[in-house]
Amino acid sequence: MLASVSSAFPAVDQDYLLEARQMQALSFAVHIPLVCFGVAFPAMVIFTEWLGYRTGKAHYTAIAKRWSKVMITLFAAGVVTGTLLSFELGILWPGFMSAFGEVFGLAFGLEGFSFFIEAIFIAIYVYGWDRLSPKRHLLAGIPVMVAGFTGSWMVIAVNAWMNAPSGFDVVNGDVVNVQPWSALFGNGHLWPQLIHMYLAAYIVVGFSIAGVYAFAWLKGRRGPYFRTAMVIPLAIACLAAPTQLLIGDWSARNVAEDQPIKLAAFEGLYKTTEGAPETILGWYEPDGSIKYGIEIPKLLSLLAYHDPNATVQGLDTVPEEDRPPINVVRIAFQTMVGIGTMLVALAAWFLFVFYRKKRIPETKWFYRAVIAAGPAAVVALIAGWVTTEVGRQPWVVYGVMRTEEAVTGAEGIIFGYTALVLVYLVLAGSTFWVLRRIARTPFTPEIAALEEGPGTAGAKGPESGGKAGHDAGS
């Protein structure tokens, strides 16, 4: 028997559709930042371990060791929040899963294996310090990095398919002629979305980790250990952020092509316009105008189609029930772009100072900005997901199945939502507590001497250089 869009599970009456969507959104908002650490952090840890391996300097290895503990802690939180997501697919969206599970399920199968490999090798990596030979230990990190990528690749393949569904036909409400491979991997949205997310992971992790050590810097902890632990993630984030502009542009062009209404929602563009302007800030009014916005002529056409006179489709081309909630999408989009732009500015500041003066910036404001950049990048990440997910509404499968057709008919979902919020508060609190504990673990005598010993680091450059910077900044 084939699943069908309309008849397998008849439509249900769910009063709490919005709560179901919020519950799903909350679960994603908790899971996705953790995923970033599974995707991007291993590369930084392995790189730092490799530095230690190459040079024999103890502080590199000490950094990699400590980071790997953070990595497995966040991975554990990622595993269980990911488990919850797979439960929620069925608990909240049985209509969606029943009709389309066979179209996109394969990707989750491969994702499951990635997850397995990552769990196995992250354990070998973290528990194998000083127990495996250095070379084998370094090699054990590679599968973690690769599996982090393949896992996100598979999940994004499903999301890209939801945005640009293909690989099946709907005949009399039945999903037939399912071609899972082309549905998942022959999709034009896959690569821009995947690379956009992959870079976002590096930006989030890079700025978050650098922020921790920027905070230490402001507190006067500026020895080689702290300095290295700051500049490695900072270097990566500062190069990934400008690259993201390019990838984001690519992604937006894809949206313009395949999901014109979503693009119109990003911009709050009511009428189809030739040479459409870009409106920054402001509030979308029900009559289709934008109040208090700053209009830049022709910019939207230029950005979306790389042609200042291109025609951009407006919201009025579809009935109101086929439009997403404009202000949510628009504000989320502008938040993402705004924060992204500020991160690029921060990166430019850092790279310019380093290029001109061959040193990292010394003013306190730079370190304050780096501290802020971590949480800001997380906000941009979540805003980006709100943009694409809410922007796809009212569809769960764009143009094919509405979210209200996918939702469960069960009662009491609101109680599950409440319980989840409580459990997540406990998870967040205890994860934070554990990370603090890891941060406060005493250094080995060797590193402690390097960081605090009067004779070693202080006499050489970094410590005194740091002090000078401290003075210059204050």
Binding site: P10, F75, G90, G105, E111, G112, V231, R437
Partner: protein, 406 residues
């Protein structure tokens, strides 16, 4: 066998693996809670140490089962998860709390953490057991939340299987931990778990016997399936394997006991499959529920390829854990080499290389802006990303070495 039936077999294998491996994980925290007195602290430490490297991998089996279910039998997945959402969300929140207790337990031996972990380790197998009970007793109709929200999983069969799941977890955990303690050279701990294993084994056997009686009244179809033909063979095999586990525990042959405990679980799961076939849900056979053949074949190819990578990886991990390589103190006797590599000084990149990387990035960026589709676009993006990766390494090396030449 029709191709449509293969995924259900794989799911049963996954469920058996989850019960044996994930179950040992849940059971171990039950023993942590009940450990008191002189040995208490040592038992808790041993339990944590034995499970910590493997618990994440053990839990992926559950996700694996779900994924196979929703790909191969999408309607079955939707029906089960909508009707049984309450026990399922309880199980899932339990798993999250279990992770919390692991993560916190790794850095602190707090009583509260032990209690939290034990509660979650009790409710998760219980809730998942009630889900199985709901399915075997035919209380999950096909459709979106068509079953009763409460009685579908709070009924004699569900409660009985829930209790059985909890006892089986305690049992497999004790057997596993006894063996691990012996390997570790902690005779006293091994003895403690041997006694616990014997006790839990007897309780699990008794619960199973009561369970058969409960199903006689509450779930007649599955009872009939389990007491005749191949189903009966599976039940008897499970009983024999269970008795053998107890015998081997008694003889302190922990390695054999482990295998027999796993065998007992596998036989029960097999019996469930046999007794319920050909139906997967009431009125829906496995073949009717299955996705199109090309999807199933695609899934099987993925699983086959995945297993080629997964099995050696799992063997490597378990080999290291069971070989004692992650035991405390093993770093003092196993690795002679210190963590020092070729000891070369790193230098920043040559200016020429920087220009080359910037050039590649620039050309790639222009290509990706100029072309909106096709090969030139993708080549441009690939150039940018390659330049980014190399650039990150160059910049990071420059920055960390700049620190030293200051």
């Amino acid at each position: 066998m029709p191709v449509a039936d293969v995924p259900v077999l794989i799911m049963l294998v996954g469920i058996a693996a989850y019960v044996v491996l994930g179950g040992a994980d849940f059971g171990s925290s039950f023993w942590s809670l009940t450990a008191r007195g002189k040995l208490g602290g040592e038992i808790r430490e041993h339990t944590h140490r034995s499970m910590a490297p493997v618990w994440e991998a053990n839990h992926v089996w559950l996700i694996f089962v779900l994924v196979v279910c929703w790909t191969a039998y999408p309607e079955v997945f939707g029906s089960i998860f909508s009707t049984l959402w309450i026990p399922l969300i309880i199980a899932c929140l339990g798993i999250i709390m279990r992770a919390v207790s692991y993560v916190v337990g790794g850095v602190a031996d707090e009583r509260g953490v032990v209690i939290l972990s034990a509660i979650s380790s009790f409710i998760t197998p219980f809730a998942l057991g009630t889900v199985v009970g709901a399915i075997v007793s035919g209380r999950v109709p096909v459709g979106n939340a068509q079953g009763d929200l409460v009685s579908s999983w709070l009924n004699p069969t569900s409660i009985m299987i829930g209790v059985m799941a909890v006892t089986v977890c305690a049992y497999v955990a004790a057997v596993y931990l006894a063996g691990d303690a012996k390997r570790n050279g902690s005779e006293e701990i091994a003895e403690a778990f041997r006694r616990r294993g014997l006790g839990a084994g007897l309780v699990a056997g008794a619960v199973a016997a009561i369970g058969i009686a409960v199903m006689h009244n509450d779930a007649r179809e599955i009872y009939d399936g389990l007491t005749s033909g191949a189903g009966l063979v599976a039940v008897l095999a499970s009983a024999v394997a269970g008795l053998a586990t107890i015998a081997f525990l008694w003889m302190r042959r922990y390695e054999l006991a482990r295998f027999c405990a796993a065998g007992a679980v596998i036989a029960v799961v097999a019996g469930w499959g046999i007794a319920q076939s050909p139906d997967i849900l009431p009125g829906l056979t496995v073949s009717d529920a299955a996705a199109a053949d090309n999807v199933i074949i695609g899934l099987l190819v993925c699983i086959a390829v995945g297993m080629l990578i997964l099995i050696p990886s799992l063997l490597l991990l378990y080999g290291l854990v069971l070989g004692g390589r992650f035991d405390p103190g093993s770093d003092r006797n196993t690795v002679v080499e210190t963590r020092v590599g070729p000891m070369t000084e790193l230098g920043g990149p040559r200016p020429r290389s920087v220009v080359a990387v910037l050039g590649v990035a620039g050309v790639g960026a222009l290509m990706s802006i100029a072309f909106s589709s096709g090969a030139p676009l993708y080549i441009g993006i690939a150039m940018v990303l390659a330049a980014l990766a190399i650039g990150c390494v160059m910049l990071a090396v420059t920055l960390v070495t700049a620190e030293e030449s200051d």
